[in-house]
Amino acid sequence: MIEGILIGLNTALSIKNIIMVMIGCFAGTIIGMLPGLGPMTAIALMIPITYGFEPSTGLILMAGVYYGAVFGGSTSSILINAPGIPGTVATSFDGYPMAQQGKAGKALAIAAYSSFAGGTIAAIFLLFAAPSLSKVSLAFRSPDYFGLMILGLTAVSAFSAKGHFLKAMMMVVLGLMLASVGQDTLSDIPRFVFNNMNLADGISFVLVVMATFAMSEALSIIFKGSDPTQAAKQISLSKLGSIRLDKDETKKMVTTIPRSSIIGFIVGVLPGAGSTIASFLAYGMERNFVKDEEKQKFGKGSVNGLSAPETANNAACSGSFVPLLTLGIPGSGTTAVMLGALLGFGIQPGPRLYQTNPEIFWSVIMSMYIGMVILLILNLPLIPYIARILAVPRAFLIPLILFFSVTGIYLMSFNNFDIYLMIGIAVVATILRLYEFPMPPLILAFVLGGLMEENLRRSLLISDGSWAFLWDRPLTLCIMITILFIVFWQIYNSYFKKK
């Protein structure tokens, strides 16, 4: 492992890669601060730029964007009570009241230190957990993988869209349907091509991500008449106050950070759960841990109340990389985009990744840590100025997002058809968003579609067409029971539970 860490450090600490982390963190912070534009959009917009890079450099850039976007989301939560991403909603509970009390600088510092500490502790967990889990996952067979993928999709549907489980499941099916277009990987038989040669190779992952996130988010902003940059214009440089923390505040953070890191990491590893649940869970648990006196301050500017969700959401980000790097199965929409990018580089993540491509495996882990340091050193003092950059009018921001999206596809194929298809998918996604159909399950399903079919094929061929493979192995059986439990629980909760 030491050797791996050194390889990772060597790659991550090259001048080029450090610059990439810095650019990633900076760009991610800017995009993450805009309410409505989250890490998935930020990463999607970066994909075309990574085409010309080595896989490790491209992934390092995307990891930086991911962390930057989460940090940016916290900033808008604290300063203007408008969380950039769902994972930072809990941050606003105590962050915004602090800002209103004239302690915005302090709140930003608490958020930054907590994010840094949470991310660092989780990166250490990841360092030890990933190789061990990789070894364990070598024992997994096709039925287990098939089951795990269904579990991931079901869990993302259950958690990413609370109260909209059936809508999310429809999105899962739609994502899988889109993934089935093109030639069958084994027999080369064309499917749903309708004699159109442009569809023979299937629909590009980048196209779907750009259409359902970057482009449809931009169109949604115009359609709804909202202005995400309005928030940034309210930020006043003079009202931030000091970023220095006193002894008492530091002491409170020291007790909160370890327990919230553990909660965040564990929740992050679970498929579908992610930073939103981690931050709410950590906030709720912290409220139970603190003394009655501090409990009264929750919701009114508590240091513990701000530190807990910030620590947990960053720890969850690191945790979400565990299933991606060890099993090759993303547990969230954001890591699904990362998986798509990895596949685009010709790399198949999974238990053998850290043996076949150790420089990628370790450099991603190490760059996460470097990303945290950069966020702390560079972004914290620069936040007021970054916020000013954001005061770019909507009339400029939206066309630029659309331009980046179209450019991404143009660079890939130099084909008009892909642009039309992307516009078509974006229009449909905009309407679906309007009626609260969640997009992350669609992306996750689209990315997993090919792998799912492959594992189902193997399982059915081995069991000679019998579906008994779903319960033959104890591990597969456990996974299937968990899936059934989630499905019935969600349907019961949504339709039959008396309020």
């Binding site: 010309g52 099916v173 038989i189 169109l219 008449g225 066309p399 660079l411 309007l434 009626y435």
Partner: protein
């Protein structure tokens, strides 16, 4: 009786799944693969049924949390104009070249969204695209197809 828009979307998805299922059954597989436990149409057929199941369930079950969308406040005009501009951008990008079509798309989009500061409209279109192209093509060595600039001898 008023039908909720989400139910209508679910109904459309139900029909789409039926269409998808029909075409899944039409996929031609090799003769030796016809009775195999798994062939090219197995997975799509399962997906078709899954789509029908979930959309059917949504249509059949009562809606507990209907989406509340005020259609009268939506900005149809600007959204449709932007979509049309994107389609035109898609049509012209190969013929007129990346630089010209992108710059014109940006200018028209800024104007559509109500921008009137001509200095910024110009700066964030033609020079911005030129710098972006230089970064991609010149520095990152990412190939950018632009027949017009190639004809003019600006790029190789």
């Amino acid at each position: 009786m008023q039908i909720s828009p989400v139910k209508i979307i679910s109904l459309l998805f139900f029909v789409f799944s039926g269409f998808y299922l029909y075409h899944a059954y039409q996929i031609r597989v090799f003769a030796f693969d016809e009775n195999a436990p798994f062939n090219a149409k197995t997975f799509p057929i399962l997906l078709g049924y899954a789509g029908i199941f979930f959309s059917g369930l949504y249509i059949a079950l009562p809606e507990k949390r209907p989406a509340n969308v005020n259609l009268s406040v939506l900005d149809y005009k600007r959204t449709i104009t932007l979509v049309i501009l994107m389609i035109i951008y898609g049509v012209t990008i190969l013929k007129a070249g990346y630089f010209l079509s992108t710059s014109i798309f940006l200018v028209l989009s800024y104007i559509t969204l109500g921008e009137k500061r001509w200095f910024w409209v110009f700066t964030l279109s033609f020079p911005f695209v030129a710098i972006f192209m230089f970064l991609l093509h010149g520095l990152l060595d990412i190939y950018l197809r632009d027949p017009l600039l190639k004809y003019l001898g600006i790029i190789g």
